[in-house]
Amino acid sequence: MRLAGTASLLASSLVGILGAQAPSDTWRTYGQNSQGWRYSELTEIDTRNVARLAPRWIFQTGLGGGFQTTPLVFDGLMFIAGPSNHSWALDALTGRPVWHVRKAPPPKLNLCCGTVNRGFAVNGDKLFRVYIEGTLVALDAKSGSTLWATTLADYKQGYSATGAPLVVKNMVLTGIAGAEFGTRGFIDAYDVETGKRVWRFNTVAGEGEPGRETWAGDSWKSGGASTWITGTYDPELNLVFWGTGNPGPDMDGDVRRGDNLYSGSVVALDADTGKLKWHYQFTPHDVHDWDAISDPVVVDLTLDGKSVKAVIQANRNGFFYALDRTTGKVLRAKPYTKVTWADGIGADGRPHLIPGQDPTEEGTFACPGLGGGHNWQATAYSRQTGLYYFGSSENCHLFFKMKQTLTAGEWYQASTVEGRPKEHGTGAILAVDPTTGDTKWRFDLVSTPSAGMLATAGGLVFTGDAQGYVIAFDARTGKVLWKFQTGGSVSAPPISYALNGKQYIAVASGGSMLAFALP
């Protein structure tokens, strides 16, 4: 208690010294704005001077790695939601820790992909994050002390939580993970003050819900469709857009015949009630684990001379999509990587399937591979260039199917994938024109992409790679203007903030947080 008190005083005095940051100097939500752009208006670091960018501080967490987090920065502090339920507040000027709290996860968690976490949300002095065992908590930003905690779902049934929450009005919205464990996904909204649930939208249509008929028998009960990446919000339409994951079991579609709504979809929900306004399913009856969880980015596009309210996504199934965000109608759909499962998207929005692409006991070769295409790593949209930036895997897999009996809470994938000998996945950073789906530039990667993206008004795009580099590109041309070897794999998206008039680029790498600035 005494220690927490000291930390609290320290935090207050630091804020006092530094003063408030202007809104454009801060990073207060997962996608920088509620539309999910990851676009910083800061211009000090630009195409002419970025070559001189240098590390200003490095904070070593003491953990081995696994950081996928988007740090938040405001009031002179940086807030990090780390793996294994660790949280930190750092002084954003020096990287020195101000507070650190941890809630030890329970043993015997059923997790597909480690105890990762992707960040905080904030409302006033309250920080919100999920713990891996499926709880949503509110922490006091000044001290890290817990204000309330709410159980989202039972981890013993295979649920877990990894995504950054999203604050909408007086609610904090969160998704859930666990589609490989026979769970049933949802999107929840909770009161920011009390932690009481305001609404829930089930992403697998059950009894009495429209779409129930798209699940054979009782298969909806373990239908997956988890919601492990943060959605976006359009205040004007008062709609929340959220991507949903693969149906379960991943590769045996025989036990869940039908389209399997609302897996592999983006759903548009009324922010106040959680009621479904529309949905669009990118991959009906998916059998390749092609989640549709990537950030649904809210942008207005000029198409055929008219301004259109759109939501865009580089889907894991290999297609880029622009949808009308008032109706869910497809405006553009175009492959951005090698695709063997469909040769186009019809006027009715359904893919034109190519036969013989489904998993079999002997293995079926299909592209993209298990991870896509573009997977979960955060994307960026630059208002300056009008381009949409994301990492893409150049990868195919042999997809195997097996019969598996579901045991509650246990791994329920019904087989796996394998690469062909001498075929190793590579990748690329792509800049796509969202009005056409055309790739404007690409930077080839030696392995599949690992990190998220940041675009800035300095004409730059930042990302990282699996081998430890943080990289700055000219946003218009894709030319590499700067790089730095961090010594740890970069699996998180970079962010930007300004303090005392100086612009910083920050990103987690390995088990560290790094901040860069001009000399």
Partner: protein, 267 residues
């Protein structure tokens, strides 16, 4: 400091207790699912999802895990040994323990599955391993690039555990058609320098901006992509392609008997 010291002193005692507890669980125990068809099928599904990444989909050895179809295992041949390997892992190797994620019965079902593989894979190995060893270091010149234990070169992959890691069929293919599969991290890198020189070697590092390689003479290079005309990584081997002609079938059988006998642990 005092607290740390107390934990340090108590440490070995706690470890001993834990080890004893584990031993009481499984040592000398019989597999309750031995030969059980349902358990074997459960194990097959589980193996594909949890084990195939290293041991291969057919358990004949993969990127880093040994061939499990031979009926003989480096860490002991009893069911209880197999149980221990799956539950606790093998120290000093890449094999992790799965006791955190698998229940006791599930480990036993996997043991049943691994046991069921033996009849399919275990062709007796013909050939004279001693004669094969002489060919390896002599006529074949294999030691110019490969290492066995502390002897040989480190340009190509170490073969110290080749017999434990790979099936006989895989070893045969590797000798006769080295390009068929490339051990992870041993691709061929070709660099063309600004003055037109070509440097060819085995990958030691490769990222988006640089490459590190070692040529067949053992010389090490590190090159930035910006400083050279081109850097290319190819999944082919620098190993000679003529072993099928160099060796008679009898010699090849002897060489394979030697390779299959290599089951040494990490030095």
């Amino acid at each position: 400091l005092k607290l740390a010291l107390a934990i340090a002193l108590a440490g070995p005692f706690l470890t001993a207790l834990t080890a004893q507890d584990n031993k009481a669980d499984t040592s000398l125990q019989k597999n309750p699912f031995a030969g059980d068809a349902q358990a074997i099928e459960w194990g097959r599904v589980k193996f594909r999802m949890s084990c195939a990444g290293c041991h291969g989909l057919r358990a004949t050895g993969g990127r880093s895990g040994p061939d499990l179809t031979r009926g003989t295992f480096a860490a002991g041949d009893q069911d209880s040994d197999l149980y221990g390997v799956i539950a606790k892992g093998v120290p000093g190797t890449e094999m992790p323990g799965f006791s955190d994620s698998l229940e006791t019965d599930e480990v036993w079902r996997l043991v049943s599955y691994v046991r069921s593989l033996t009849s399919r894979g275990a062709a007796p190995i013909a050939g004279d391993a001693a004669a094969g060893e002489a060919l390896f270091w002599g006529k074949g010149g294999c030691g110019r690039c490969h290492r066995v234990g502390t002897r040989g070169s480190s340009v190509g992959p170490s073969l110290t555990r080749a017999g434990a890691q790979r099936s006989l069929a895989y070893l045969r293919e590797s000798v006769l058609a080295p390009d068929a599969d490339i051990t992870y991290g041993y691709a061929t890198i070709t660099v063309v320098t600004r003055d037109g020189r070509k440097i060819v070697g085995v990958e030691r590092g490769f990222d988006n901006f640089s490459a590190q390689l070692i040529d067949v003479s053992g010389r090490y290079y590190s090159l930035q992509k910006d400083d050279v005309t081109s850097i290319q990584r190819e999944y082919r081997s620098l190993m000679p392609l003529n072993y099928g002609r160099l060796f008679s079938e009898a010699e090849l059988t002897d060489l394979l008997a030697f390779l299959a006998s290599l089951r040494g642990g990490p030095p």
